[in-house]
């Protein structure tokens, strides 16, 4: 990028909110995915006006612009594949309005998900999407990736909570979509189109989110099974009985054994899988739901059932699930995780597919699954410097994507496409559907300035 153009960009936000030295720039070349690309400039705007001025300059000189929150994406979404300017929203982190009477909040994109939860808790409210990165990831990033989380089974994903937004378009013009109303069919629901758009359509500078009251109580139980099919049958029987748990987390045999190896929690080593189930709501209702769940899992040959009666017991049951990622991360220098999603009834078949693929490529792989919504996380410990091992991991994941597609599943349930899965889009979308996305992209960003080099 030419020096005079850099200067013009830097004048928008001032020197102390611009980065141009290599050492600093290199810290914005990555997220949690393996690919990297250096930006030419990093800017930290604080207002919509500044974002607008940045985009006007970018349009004038045809400079690529990639938005970034906290950089916890696992698919390369905020990596500036075509270089140019990274617009980092982390300092634009004000909660503009909390209105629990009308059940909405208005936030700037850099607000951290966990900070929003802490701001809502005193009012007895919460914002349901809870990605694993919630203590660091920003609302802007959550919306751009349409983030999910454990409790999305009951409450839905980010897109279900976005009521409206202010967006700066490629031209630099600022526009508003949606409103503060839960019911709103005034024109296209464009806010929803922005959920999962990964910064390719515009830069959000303000988001209005729906919030909901905190449940009175939560109850947790953990069940182990000797046959994988019984887990899936239990999941559909429980939901079929009219109970929608907040979470139904499945750990496969490999994962339970890896956790036992490192933490010794007393998980049964021979079980085929376990389900961690949590319900929330009014206390009496939760108690009844727990009873019904116990009955359903018994009908499906549960090998062992543990019901938490106290908060510490609840935490103890969650320990296995919470430690799973760390356990796998410590098995080898690197770890790769994906988030293919299949219809709920196909979860056991998909797990068997993953096991077979891992065996074929001589890899260790564990599976964590949000069993209630079919969203699965195969975990593969690896070593990027070991070329042969890395190649086998890449091959295995390609086959996992193909297997998910064959079962009527999809590439990503909550992480997004980014750079990681762009090559596999054709597995789950036909040519015309991909073309339709390009048509939209070209209409709003004809010069392909917004996060170029990604899935569209």
């Amino acid at each position: 990028m030419k020096e005079n153009i850099k200067q013009e960009f830097m004048e928008v936000v001032g020197k102390d909110r611009s980065l141009h030295r290599t050492e600093e720039l290199s810290c914005y070349a990555y997220d949690a995915f393996v690919a990297e690309a250096m930006p030419d400039l990093v800017l930290f705007p604080k207002t919509t006006q500044e974002v607008s001025a940045i985009m006007k300059t970018a349009s004038r000189y045809k400079v690529p612009v990639t938005g970034r929150g906290a950089g916890t994406s696992i698919c390369g979404a905020p990596v500036p594949a075509r270089h140019g300017v990274v617009v980092c929203f982390s300092k634009m982190d004000e909660i503009i309005e909390v209105n629990t009477r009308d059940r909405y909040v208005i936030v700037q994109p850099g607000v951290v998900n966990g900070d929003l939860q802490r701001a809502l808790a005193p009012f007895g409210f919460f914002y349901p999407p809870d990605p694993g990165s919630m203590e660091v990831s920003t609302i802007g990033g959550n919306v751009a990736q349409n983030a999910g989380g454990l409790r999305c089974l009951k409450y839905g994903v980010t897109a279900d909570y976005v009521l409206g937004m202010k967006v700066v378009l490629a031209s630099g013009k600022a526009v508003r979509f949606g409103s503060r109303n839960v019911k709103d069919v005034t024109g296209y629901r464009i806010s929803e189109l922005f959920c999962g758009s990964e910064g390719t359509l515009g830069l959000m500078t303000e988001v209005t989110l729906k919030v909901v009251p905190l449940p009175e109580t939560t109850r947790t139980l953990m069940v182990t099974f000797n046959h994988l099919d019984d887990t899936a049958k239990s999941v559909s029987d429980i939901i079929g009985a009219g109970i929608i748990p907040t979470a139904m987390e499945l750990l496969d045999k490999m994962t339970m054994n890896a956790i036992e190896d490192s933490a010794n929690l007393g998980l049964p080593r021979n079980a085929a899988g376990s389900l961690l189930i949590e319900v929330d709501g009014v206390k009496e209702a939760c108690d009844r739901e727990i009873e019904k769940i116990i009955q359903k899992v018994r009908d499906n040959h549960a090998a062992d059932i543990q019901v938490a009666e106290t908060k510490p017991e609840q935490d103890r049951l969650w320990t296995a699930r919470r430690s799973a990622y760390g356990v796998f991360a410590k098995l080898a220098p690197d770890i790769v995780t994906e988030d293919v999603t299949v219809p709920v009834s196909k979860v056991p078949e998909m797990i068997r597919n993953i096991e077979a693929i891992a065996e074929k490529h001589d890899l260790t792989m564990g599976v964590l699954a949000h069993a209630g919504d079919g969203n699965m996380h195969p975990l593969a410990p690896t070593d990027r410097t070991d070329k042969d091992h890395w190649r086998r991991v890449e091959l295995a994941f390609k086959e996992i994507f193909e297997a998910a597609a064959a079962l009527g599943g999809t590439l990503s349930g909550e992480h997004g496409i980014g750079i990681a899965k762009a090559p596999y889009l054709g597995l789950v979308m036909d040519k015309d559907s991909i073309e339709f996305m390009s048509v939209i992209k070209k209409a709003v960003d004809p010069d392909n300035l917004l996060n170029p080099g990604k899935f569209v």
Partner: protein, 410 residues
Amino acid sequence: MSRTTLQNCGRCGLCLSACPVYKVLKEEHASPRARLKLIQAYKNKTLPTSPVLQELVSKCLMCGRCAAMCPSGINHYGKFMEMRREMAAAHGDKIEIRSLVFMLAREYRLRAAAGVARIGRGLLPASFQKKSRLGNIPLDRFPRFPGKPLRETLPEEIPPQGTERGTVVYFTGCATNHLFADTGHASVRVLTAMGYRVRIPEGQTCCALPMLFHGAADQAGNSIQTNIQALGAAEDDPILVDCATCGAALKKEYPLLCDTLHLDSDVVAGIAARVSHITPFVLDHMDELDFPAADTALKVTSHTPCHRKHGFGGEDVVARLLKQTPGVDYRPAPDAEECCGGGGTFFYEYPEISKKMVDKKVASARTTGADIWVTDCPVCRINLAGNLDGESSMRVIHPLELIDMQLGRS
């Protein structure tokens, strides 16, 4: 796939939520993840050494929170320390930091410096002291140097009161010796009241951790050797520290440095096994203390030093100690475990960042209504006390001073 390779940073970014500096600045280039990335780029020779690189790697409190929560189990602490050493060797350090390292490296220099500071402070007009700042702290709120260093006012061995229960070795650290002699006297009174003979070995010196943080490995090596000699001879008696950083040094850092510094690993492991923090030691022996009945309760809140929680390990024993001490109305602050921004010399090098952190702590401690704020780290103590405003009646002391007060001895 080789199993011996070191863990790589998976760049998950979870450490950002633990990093006090990131939380203030909201800048990736000031995060633990970025520091690891920069260190890796430097090692791979894709990024040459530079003053900018040094600054990015050093803008860190060395609080250890990132390492404590890393899912991949990366030793950020060791990597940062090594990189700081390389950067200091390549680019030097600020003159003030170099002087600090020079001073800490030899006990006699430290003594001389404390003496000069004592006199200097006496000569400075009060109005000047009020206006001038050392980092984020106004000079007149800096602790006063005691008349004489602690160890010069105490014999090498102090006999117990009443029945003798055993002997403990007291490693006083620089801060208690030169700045907070009151903590030292209180500790000795509490330990002897419990029936312990207290040995304060001559020849002990700075634990060397501050020097290691500033990349001064050679100077640190000398001090470490000196301390091993002073402590190694003392048989099996427990070694007590009143500073979490000294504790982390003796217990965790010395054993890691055996190869580099050619230390006798058996002796070092022996010392490490004997080291305890004085606060849990007293907590374990509370029934050996006889507290007089108190008619009014002292309102007390606490601050947990990062090096006790994340460097030295263990739960928040101060909270338990306060709950068990008669005549104490313990009022926990919701953010008692958050970093205060002291971080060794961090408050001096990055006063704007540090100030934001400490102001939050002070505001929250105030809301508890406590009159006494206890913490068992000298730097936290300087930083917290230095940032209370003039009108505040709150005092910051070491928990042992509180125990001593409650025993009715001072």
